[in-house]
């Protein structure tokens, strides 16, 4: 009983491995349906969400916080979708979006460029130079995105529990390694893990409700006790208070909600 995230570059056989793992463990596979759900829930186009998850923020994004807004939407949706556990997610930035959960097995699948180019040529029926430039552009964009949004390098192995080079391994072999790890005690969900997932989901939902107007507010949640870290100005803003009142009334699972003004935002806040 756990959550598996598979991070991969394009044409790294990540999707095939994810599906095999899900089939072996009897887990549900999540990928593009995340964007569909987020789009439905927050009334934003899938294209905008995809761009937010894929393309590094431009000048306009930084000014309008659009990227931050869409990522908050996607994260809130993803946390709701994984709340039931037994999930394999092979979409973008799963290991970062689910940061803070202990029972998530974070996998990265890598492969050498030559093999990936060959695969891309086969899959898309395109010329070699075109396939190579697409893959390189995609890798560069993801690297930039991860650096700008989370301040880390996606190639940093310490972000993952297991890095698998797919060059010599078959999909079945890779899936077998992953299933073995997923079944180990370290990644079994406990009551504490599930509670943490629920708390993080609640925090992300509150973040999603506030992010458009108040993107700088930090939120933590523990056992349903929600703490919001804001500036004095925001804490006394009428609109902010109104949103919080409706959240308190409409969100089950929130036992207490407080706004602490002028207190440094903890590192684990969303």
């Amino acid at each position: 009983m756990s959550i598996v995230t598979i991070s991969r570059g394009s044409s790294s056989m990540g999707k095939a491995v994810a599906e095999k793992v899900a089939a072996t463990l009897g887990y549900q596979v999540l990928s593009r349906d995340l964007l569909l759900n987020a789009s439905d829930k927050f009334h934003v186009s899938q294209q905008s969400l995809l761009q937010a998850l894929h393309d590094a923020p431009g000048l306009k994004d930084r000014y309008k916080n659009t990227k931050q807004i869409y990522i908050a939407y996607v994260r809130a949706t993803l946390l709701e979708m994984v709340a039931g556990d037994n999930v394999v997610y092979h979409g973008l930035a799963g290991h970062l979006l689910l940061k803070g959960l202990d029972h998530v097995l974070k996998i990265r699948i890598i492969g050498n460029l030559e093999n990936r180019v060959m695969r891309k040529m086969r899959e898309d029926g395109i010329a070699r130079h075109e396939a190579q430039s697409l893959i390189l552009a995609d890798d560069a964009q993801r690297k930039k995105w991860t650096r700008q949004i989370y301040g880390v390098d996606p190639a940093d192995n310490t972000l993952y529990d297991m890095v698998i080079c797919i060059d010599k391994l078959s999909v079945d072999d890779a899936a077998q390694f992953i299933c073995g790890a997923a079944n180990s005690t370290a990644f079994q969900s406990t009551e504490a893990c599930l509670r943490k997932a629920r708390d993080l989901s609640l925090a992300c939902n509150v973040k999603a409700a506030l992010v458009t107007e108040f993107p700088e507010v930090g939120i933590t949640c523990e056992y349903g006790n929600m703490l919001l870290y804001a500036t004095e100005k925001i804490a006394h803003n009428g609109k902010f208070k109104k949103i919080l009142d409706s959240l308190k009334q409409d969100t089950p699972g929130i036992f207490n909600l407080e706004v602490h003004a002028g207190v440094p935002v903890p590192l684990d806040a969303v």
Partner: protein, 606 residues
């Protein structure tokens, strides 16, 4: 107008330096006063004896005695007992609430320090604001202003008035009696309250009502008390025998973070009963613990942590007896050493072994992660602990305990003694014309002898900052007078304003005093201005006593800026901005001046 001598120039420089340091506050005001006390004899502007004469002055001794008498009255819980009936009388109308609390605060303030009276009612006003959904900003300023105005009701109500008779001595002028200022003070208080009742909607910030669901339950005072009781009720629980077998260790702090439940008592193996256990204390299997929190939170915790919730406090009944331990509210005072620090930084639990339960700020109540909230002036912190430990926290200073009647060494049985000594002091002053300091010190001594207050408590209650501020500035007044500087300034001012009627002169003095008190302390303003205005009045043929009285009263006319301690205390909780004080304070200040001059003219026939 005489010629400026070198000594006069030196005195003027010292005055300018004192005013400059008062304004910029590079050092504390009492340190400025001590600087004057030392610098003036070094510059040969006063003799060494004159430099320290302030410490033995009638005014300083009177202030020490008034503070001790106030502390004695406080110890008996007499003043606290006023709170509840006043709130009952206040009812639900905003105007009635303002009038009832303001009059009470003004009355208390007329015999004890203004700041103490203002702090006493702060938690109660916050509760009323929530209960009646009246913005706190509409209640606090009228009450704060009344606390300041209450200081003008008797000659011992505020430092400038206590000081007044001493400053008149060099001029051989008749001293004022204890209640000579009472009609004027009452009129000032009434006019101040009337300003807010009649024009409150125009001059006070309207604020927002905090009509949350929780508050809606607060429909009556009893309802409020009931709800507060529910929030802070005590529950005893027992952990299961296998509590530690299949879970990560659970600590006291975990329960607070997870369920907002505070552990007030815990049994530690083999059977040590610990009150206010440290946050890192581990909770063991098969032990009893007493917690404080909302019932639903305690039930949630009992369910999740598999604890058995008992129906009553069973094992800890003696420890939780009201004679042993309890809950108090403490207000962070202006100039508190705790302001700007978090409870974690102060290490409140480590040092005093009391449990902070919640923090009230403005209309908000904080119960989660309160250790990391930086305290502000006016914050109300609710603590649980044994009376002994709470008393040691109280002694640390920086926190005004608004409900000290709960403290262990409260002596309600001494209330009659305390009241008796106060009355005796007043009779000595009024009936036998005994000097203020002697009469008041008799009352203070009586309180010590009859054990209303111990001598150590009496010493601790004295605010030495006020004493040194006063004593240190008195030599500056002497130097101003002795060197002829006061006469020279008075002459210069009279030259500028020309021949004016006594009423105009007193009005000018009132405006001058008001301006001074806004930028420097009221004591400083009084010491500097009284010799000056007495000279001015003598030169202009006006009654010099009245000129001095105008200074003594008008230095309480400190409403336009949040510089007065009471204004500073209420500024945070009321979320006032300086512009709010300018708006309301300007009107009250003008009314103050008009009423003061009118009353002096009416009573003393100027």
């Amino acid at each position: 107008m005489g010629q400026l001598t070198p000594d006069m120039i030196l005195v003027l420089i010292m005055i300018a330096l004192a005013i400059f340091l008062f304004i910029v506050e590079w050092v504390r005001v009492d340190v400025v006063a001590i600087l004057m006390m030392v610098a003036l004899p070094l510059l040969h502007l006063v003799t060494p004896k004159e430099a320290f004469v302030g410490l033995s002055s009638n005014a300083v001794v009177s202030i020490i005695a008034v503070i001790i008498i106030g502390a004695g009255l406080d110890k008996t819980g007499m003043i606290n007992k006023l709170v509840k009936p006043v709130l009952m009388v206040a009812g639900t109308s905003t105007s009635r609430i303002i009038v009832a609390i303001s009059v009470t605060v003004a009355f208390i303030s007329s015999f004890m320090q203004n700041i103490g009276a203002a702090a006493l009612f702060l938690p109660a006003i916050q509760r009323i604001s929530k209960m009646q959904k009246i913005p706190l900003s509409r209640l606090l300023m009228p009450v704060g202003f009344s606390a300041i105005l209450g200081g003008t009701i008797t000659l011992v109500g505020c430092s400038p008035l206590i000081l007044l008779n001493d400053l008149l001595l060099p001029f051989n002028l008749k001293p004022f009696g204890l209640f000579d200022v009472t009609p004027i003070g009452l009129a000032l208080m009434a006019s101040g309250i009337a300003c807010f009742i009649l024009l409150g909607r125009f001059i006070l910030p309207q604020g927002e009502c905090q009509g949350t669901e929780d508050n809606e339950a607060f429909c009556t005072i009893d309802g409020l008390a009931a709800n507060e009781e529910e929030v802070n009720s005590h529950y005893e629980l027992t952990t299961s025998d296998d509590f530690m077998d299949y879970r990560d260790p659970v600590h006291v702090d975990d329960l607070r973070r997870r369920y907002l439940v505070n552990v007030l008592a815990l049994t530690e193996p083999p059977d040590f009963k610990t009150l206010s256990p440290a946050p890192e204390t581990e909770i063991r299997a098969g032990v009893d613990l007493v917690v404080c929190g909302r019932k639903q939170d305690v039930e949630r915790m009992a369910l999740a942590e598999e604890m058995v919730l008992k129906e009553t406090i069973d094992c800890y009944s003696s420890e939780f007896d009201t004679s042993t331990s309890g809950t108090v509210e403490a207000v962070v005072s202006p100039r508190s050493q705790f302001a700007g620090l978090t409870l974690a930084e102060i290490r409140i639990q480590d040092r005093f072994r009391v449990t902070p339960l919640e923090i009230h700020r403005q209309e908000e109540t904080y119960r989660a992660e309160i250790d990391s909230i930086a305290l502000q002036t006016g914050d109300v912190i609710r603590f649980y602990g044994t009376w002994k430990r709470l008393e040691s926290l109280h002694r640390e200073g920086g926190l005004l305990f608004s409900m000290p009647s709960d403290l262990e060494d409260m002596r309600p049985e001494k209330a009659l003694w305390a009241g008796g000594w106060l009355v005796l002091s007043l009779v000595m002053i009024m009936g036998f014309d005994i000097q203020l300091s002697v009469a008041l010190m008799t009352g203070a001594l009586g309180m010590v002898i009859t054990r209303v207050i111990s001598i150590d408590e009496a010493y601790q209650s004295v605010d030495w900052r006020t004493i040194f501020l006063l004593a240190g500035l008195i030599p500056l007044g002497i130097a101003t007078q002795k060197t002829g500087t006061a006469e020279w300034i008075a002459g210069s001012i009279l030259c500028i304003i020309g021949d004016v009627s006594p009423i105009v002169l007193l009005t000018v003095i009132g405006i001058l005093s008001t301006m001074f008190t806004l930028v420097i302390s009221n004591v400083g303003a009084t010491v500097l201005l009284v010799p000056l205005v007495v000279n001015m009045a003598i030169a202009a043929g006006t009654d010099p006593r009245m000129a001095a009285l105008v200074v003594g009263l008008a230095t309480s006319n400190s409403f336009m800026l949040p510089t007065h301690q009471v204004n500073a205390l209420y500024m945070g909780p009321g979320r006032y901005r300086t512009v709010d004080f300018i708006k309301a304070g300007s009107l009250v200040s003008v009314v103050f001046l008009v009423v003061m001059i009118a009353m002096i003219s009416l009573i003393y026939g100027i």
